[in-house]
Point group: C2
Chain length 687, copies 2
């Protein structure tokens, strides 16, 4: 106990009060905190576009900027829709709330399933991509990306279990550094281009052989399918934009307006970065293929690349070439990119537990997800997220490209349902609103959401068609599983609370109490249990002994007589040497003779302090208590007798707790005031 | 629960009544049952003698029969000593009892440690040797001996957990078959020898190169050391003779005399078999080396043997040659040998749990070793033995020769201490005995035991000197560990029982009962707990709620007012969101205000039926109960509320139990009779 507590203390830090929580963020801080996820997609979205186009060889890269611009258009539409949502639902419930309120619990649960999958994938994708960047700067990590990614997830988990309260300001720095570094690199590249000094990336000399089915000349159908695939991969750039709509309560007032403005800023920055990177990469002659298909990348002479060739991510290749004579530039770009990817994963660690607690509150998730630990963090949610992310990372070998196939579906499912919800929302408001100006605004908002829905539903279909067999089916399956789990959990809680609801006949007192004290030997714990049981003045009091060994029973009976104990001792014979069953059967027997009465079973227990001491004593009491819980009309009382070694254990536990929480013994004692007021209710003023 | 019970039923069979146990054995059945361990050593003792002599090359085999005869002499002395012991201690306590009674608890514990090690090694050695024989008959087992041996141990464990009651008769058959097969084979070999047709074993053409230090010509010192090593290895033939002295209570009357006669028979058979095998092997030109040192065995031309060469045990080689034209003869000999080795291991599975229960009864071992399961078997002891044996088999790769280095020390430690105990026994009796005839018998017995002690102590020294570095140190270490564990366990039990012994002030009734009912929500379980608590008529009754969420607490307080519950509700504020600690502190608070009173904590619990349902409910009650056990002056009452799903679970559990034990519902109910007699004691006549 002591050791576990101390390590918990080191891992988690001091406990925090419930009031030590909230802090509101100005826009300049909220942007980096909430948008790091969305912005970080620039680290992998261009790569995915180039990978998909490369199926038809490097010549297909002529389409890259058109694909980028299409993705940007969708992003504009989605951001515009979210601005409407932020204004309408400033409570931070996000897509889940919008869907639940406007479309009903089934849609809400669907969105929730999609979001759960999303959060897990956000961690898996961001950390995997981060590991790729880390490996491009630190070559000794090549080949150990999976291990490194898992360790990073564990580190994030530990940080979040501590509760990263002071994080806001710390988060701002790397996100701004990332924006500055990427845009600065692109601007510098543009200057080099204009002055004719722009270098070519290292992969520029390679050639790409087309994949089977995409050989020159491409049929129109194949070209459209290729562009659709590239586009749907590029849409991964949209992941994370929903974070701001969930973070509205963290903004300073006017919350909704500030959040909407931040969304606008996010869109402008993300689109600029993505288009710049795509255009620059194309200018620098980038060649980029699926790492699973690396053999399609050949040297200029058509030879296979060496075994130890490691394809660097797009931004790393650009940085390497742009800052050719200035290595620090390369390292700065790569490290801030890696850092912002970690921050993006951290966004999920903030968002998922909150979603979990909302779901727990609504009865769709186990209550354990809704309780905050000593450091105010939702411990269980954080651990659950880390576990699933690590499973995914290991299953997909930390390969960003393969994980992204799973990622986009979930995002667009929740986009679609929340847009649909918003349309319903405006329609409902329009039905009652009479003021023409307000109606005009609502009409406009509904149009925006309708355009958004139209676009995102097309994207969803494209994504499903192009990605289903590539991995999206896993997401769909996982969503279905979460959906049915949530429904089952909700049904369970509903059933339990219906069963537990108070009816009028429930206030009836039991007519009589039949107390039985279990006796195995005659020693102090037995006497104490007898005394305590007698102090509760039951209608009938008897001692009961289960006889598995006639000799021992005879000895007990003799001693019982000798001690003149004025409680009758009943012997239950147990021919099969069972201890639990005869007692349970006896209790059932008594109860069935007097169905309105209560059987009170008193169990004398002596308590030892060490685990190895517990091994030396039969754990029958525990089994018996577990079994009696299932027996109606029985209450089970443990009468503990503390041996000296248990006192030492208690002292150790108390000391550890005091040290952990810096709670002084008097602290909590003072917390209990007998503020008895007239109505017979003792309550206490919070300090 | 249901599934576990059903598989337990399949594995273990129906439960047995305590009375379904005993059965007395005539000598002709007792011999095979109790002596299979001792007789089975013939399967490996000659091998060990040949292995040790082979250190100096095959020429040293001239000493083999002298070594065999010396071992036989020691065996005669040991058996004679045991005959005395059997007559003096017919209760079956064996060496442990003799040492404890005559030499005190320290010697008793030492013998017990030696016996524990012995039993484990009996299983490991017998099964490993059995695996070797199995591999000699079934070549596909070669290389898988360890796996096969472990599976055999698990099989024996399962059989013994079922309780092999019907075993006696079944055991007789293979043991007699083994005796017949070995003696028959030797007799047939003798006939062949006399008619000049005795074949040579397959290894007869090989040569053995001497080990370093034993090259020709051998110094006298080296020869003596070699013979001592061979002798001490041969002494493994003595293992298992103590089984009969522990089995006296199983004999028919006159128990002691029958047991003594059986010992005599055992000695005659074992010695005949061992000497015959050694002499025959030598006549047939056997070459046999340590399997770890197989390269010292060469072809006649001096070449190394092929990679896949597997050296067969001595008896298998003899059988192969003697029954050269009659393969069934070979298979019969090898299979009955394997079978009898399994029976020998089974002896340990019978003996160890009984020793464990005696030790548990004396307070030297955890009580769990002393309780018999549903099938009358000492479940924990059987599992413990199987576990340790498997550890040894894996650690020593199922190599009989290496395990035997560990085996002999423990056996001779207990031989020595029990002989010493017997001498003390006779000396004590002589001090009070006056009848000359009886004194004469006692003198004679003391002389026999003294000779036995002299011989076995020499052997112990020889064994320690020749085997210490070969592995005996492991045994000594293990014995020391078991010794100190037993002492620590005994000290613990003594301390606990001293602490628990009743003093006069212990009958004092608590002055007042302060009952607190824990409330988290207002639902049926809470109302039931309040009603039950009120039914116990405490001096003070209050409801207590720990507030971690002000909103929920306010709702609870309002509802409490609304329902007009006439019990005051106290709110304990918990700024660190802990649930357990505030309650514990409050209980301590109450208790310290009234040290002679009792705090009765009532915990409403609702009980669900499935493990997955339990995941959906916080397990705070369990943690709280665990913690309150350590708090003096507190008794903890669970007031369960059974949800419908728990009733189904109870029904399932009951059905499974009924099917397992064929106990019908009425069966146990009828078992409880209210035989109230005048003295206020309700007792019950055993059915």
């Amino acid at each position: 106990m002591g050791l576990a507590d101390v390590s918990k203390r080191i891992l988690l830090g001091r406990k925090l009060r419930s009031s030590q929580g909230e802090r509101l963020l100005p826009k300049r801080v909220a942007l980096p905190v909430l948008a790091s996820d969305a912005l970080s997609s620039v680290a992998y979205a261009p790569d995915e576009v180039f990978i998909m186009l490369s199926l038809a060889g490097a010549s297909a890269y002529v389409w890259s900027w058109q694909v980028g611009v299409t993705v940007a258009l969708v992003m504009v539409a989605v951001l515009a829709s979210y601005r409407q949502q932020v204004m309408a639902y400033p409570s931070g419930g996000g897509d889940y709330e919008v869907a639940k309120v406007n479309l009903g619990p089934t849609a809400g649960t669907t969105v929730a399933s999609a979001l759960v999958v999303d959060y897990v994938l956000t961690v898996a994708v961001s950390i995997s991509s981060g590991a790729q960047y880390a490996a491009s700067a630190l070559p000794f990590l090549v080949g150990y990306e999976t291990l490194f990614a898992c360790l990073m997830v564990l580190l994030l988990m530990a940080l979040n279990l501590r509760g990263v309260r002071e994080s806001a300001t710390y988060f701002a720095v790397p996100t701004y550094a990332f924006i500055t570094a990427i845009l600065g690199m692109c601007a510098y590249g543009l200057v080099q281009h204009l002055t004719g000094t722009l270098a070519r990336v290292e992969s520029a000399d390679y050639i790409i052989t087309a994949a089977p089915g995409y050989e020159d000349p491409l049929t129109t159908g194949a070209l459209i399918f290729l562009l659709a695939r590239a586009f749907s991969s590029g849409c991964v750039a949209l992941t994370g934009v929903e974070a701001i709509s969930g973070g509205v309560p963290a903004f300073r007032k006017p919350k909704a307006r500030n959040a909407a403005t931040t969304l606008l800023m996010l869109g402008a920055i993300a689109i600029t970065m993505m288009i710049s990177v795509i255009v620059l990469a194309r200018q620098m002659g980038l060649r980029y293929v699926d790492p699973d298909d690396i053999n399609r990348l050949r040297t200029g002479a058509g030879d296979v690349l060496p075994e130890d060739f490691a394809q660097q991510p797009v931004i790393a290749q650009i940085a390497g070439a742009v800052f050719d004579g200035f290595p620090p530039g390369f390292y700065i770009v790569v490290s801030v990119t890696g850092l912002v990817l970690v921050l993006a994963a951290n966004t999920a660690f903030n968002g998922f537990p909150v979603l979990g607690s909302i779901l727990a509150h609504d009865g769709y998730a186990p209550r354990a997800l809704g309780s905050r630990g000593g450091r105010l963090a939702y411990t269980n949610g954080i651990a659950f997220l880390a576990f699933l992310a690590i499973v995914l990372i290991i299953a997909f070998d930390a390969q960003t490209t393969r994980l992204i196939q799973l990622y986009i579906v979930g995002v667009f499912v929740s986009f679609n349902l929340s847009q649909l919800g918003m349309i319903r929302h405006w329609t409902r408001l329009l039905a009652s609103e009479r003021d023409p100006a307000a109606r005009g605004r609502m009409f406009r908002s509904r149009v925006i959401n309708t355009v958004g829905l139209a676009l995102t539903s097309v994207v969803l279909v494209v994504v499903l068609v192009t990605k289903f067999l590539e991995g999206a089916w896993i997401t769909v399956l996982a969503m279905a599983v979460f959906f049915f789990i949530m429904r089952a959990v909700q049904r369970h809680y509903t059933r339990v609370s219906e069963e537990l609801a108070i009816a009028d006949e429930d206030k009836v007192m039991p007519t009589r109490v039949h107390a039985i004290v279990l006796v195995s030997k005659l020693h102090k714990p037995t006497l104490r249990a007898l005394a305590y049981a007698r102090a509760t003045r039951p209608n009938i009091l008897e001692a009961v002994c289960v006889s598995v060994d006639q000799e021992a029973t005879d000895r007990l009976l003799d001693e019982w007589d000798m001690r003149n104990l004025d409680v009758p001792l009943k012997v239950l014979h147990s021919p099969y040497r069972e201890l639990v069953r005869p007692i349970v059967d006896y209790a059932v027997e008594i109860r069935s003779a007097s169905p309105r009465g209560v059987v009170a079973v008193y169990i004398p227990e002596y308590v030892v302090g060490h685990w190895w001491e517990q091994l030396l004593h039969n754990q029958t009491a525990l089994r018996l208590k577990g079994r009696l819980l299932f027996t109606p009309g029985v209450m089970v009382t443990s009468v503990p007798y503390q041996l000296r070694s248990s006192e030492a254990a208690l002292e150790r536990a108390n000391r550890a707790e005091r040290e952990m929480g810096r709670v002084h013994p008097g602290d909590l004692r003072r917390g209990i005031d007998d503020d008895r007021d007239g109505d017979g209710r003792i309550s206490q003023v919070p300090r």
